[in-house]
Subunit: 246 residues, 2 copies
Amino acid sequence: MISKSQTKYIQSLHHKKFRDEEQAFIAEGEKVVAELLQADVFVCKQLTALPEWLLANEKLIKKYAPAEVLEVKEYELEKISALTTPNKVLAVFSKAKEPSVAVAGKITLVLDEIKDPGNLGTIIRIADWFGISSVVCSRNSADVYNPKVVQSTMGSLARVNVLYVDLHEWLNQHKKVKTYAATLNGTSIKNLKNIKEAIVIIGNESKGISDEVMQFVNEKITIPAVGHAESLNAAVATGIILSHIV
Amino acid sequence: MISKSQTKYIQSLHHKKFRDEEQAFIAEGEKVVAELLQADVFVCKQLTALPEWLLANEKLIKKYAPAEVLEVKEYELEKISALTTPNKVLAVFSKAKEPSVAVAGKITLVLDEIKDPGNLGTIIRIADWFGISSVVCSRNSADVYNPKVVQSTMGSLARVNVLYVDLHEWLNQHKKVKTYAATLNGTSIKNLKNIKEAIVIIGNESKGISDEVMQFVNEKITIPAVGHAESLNAAVATGIILSHIV
């Protein structure tokens, strides 16, 4: 049973304005909620689930003790869910504090205005696959706490730091690290091997990398095309680039 | 101005049943429609657009002469569109005849039950980028003529043959070609280089490759993971694999 005010509170977290005010976000689905519960990064403020999920996950709930646990019916879950097909459990977590990111000796991914929530989530999952611990986003990128992003990270949010910065300022502070930009006319990624330290910049889905950011780039890199497609999806391009340089 | 029966006809093409019956599909958006018009593969039966698009594309319309051209208002386009934000033009094309696919001396992509329309469209775009001319799908894969798939191919549908087959039968007919399967426990893709002829199989988003299909596989291949993500998105995995073997 969930009250009207609880329903309203969770619905408000579908919107960035309220997520920022409350410093909280929602995560949905069995896998995502289980991974975020087990991560040290987020505190679970409230967990709302169908009776069958609660029964099957008694140990998890006991161990990670959310502040509040609500048993709900399917129609109640539908009301608060941001998904078209709600999936048994929805949890409210406190946002993580923005970490300070160490770039020395590491590969750091920088996103210059990635707008599509699905792309951002998929990119965070790719970063996790390739062992990249930090994704630095321009402030005009999609919000990592958007329910669709949380969903498409498939739990990788628990292992990848995501922070929002003024990219101009941030890149200026990290000039010592070699900076690569994904473009359509650069060095072939096939010539890059075993890079240990780098900043890799991925640009906006249609506009690419902004001029303001491009001035910090040391080397443009490209995925060689054999056929005739004009471009690749931003997340696919990120995956391909990382698979060649990591 | 669009009539009620024309509106109903286009709306019916949002559904696979009617697309199959009519052997027709809809394409939306300036780029996709322009690319499909210019392709030799599809015949445009009807083109529905805002006045501004018709004015800006007079030459294109004259040259590729759709059987019927309708000027509509924005609210009319909204009614017939399958997109949340309709984009100036919607066209009805006849489906292409299913091509016979030559696999000798080529790389052919095989999809075993890719279910997500966005993934299928993105994979076709990736195939186009890497110069792969044929994508062979199991019959239980997403429909390539689904408006979402057409949209996410970004026009690559004009250059990539997509066909639906009984995979068991098809793979049995092409046993002479070395067959690779994307899995979580195979040879590293870093050890595969400059492959000229191959069948590359990508499996379902959650179940992977079915046992029935796996029996035709000569070599399992894997994208080495450094971090802890459990899997990669199917389209991202396809892009990474092709970038290493092409």
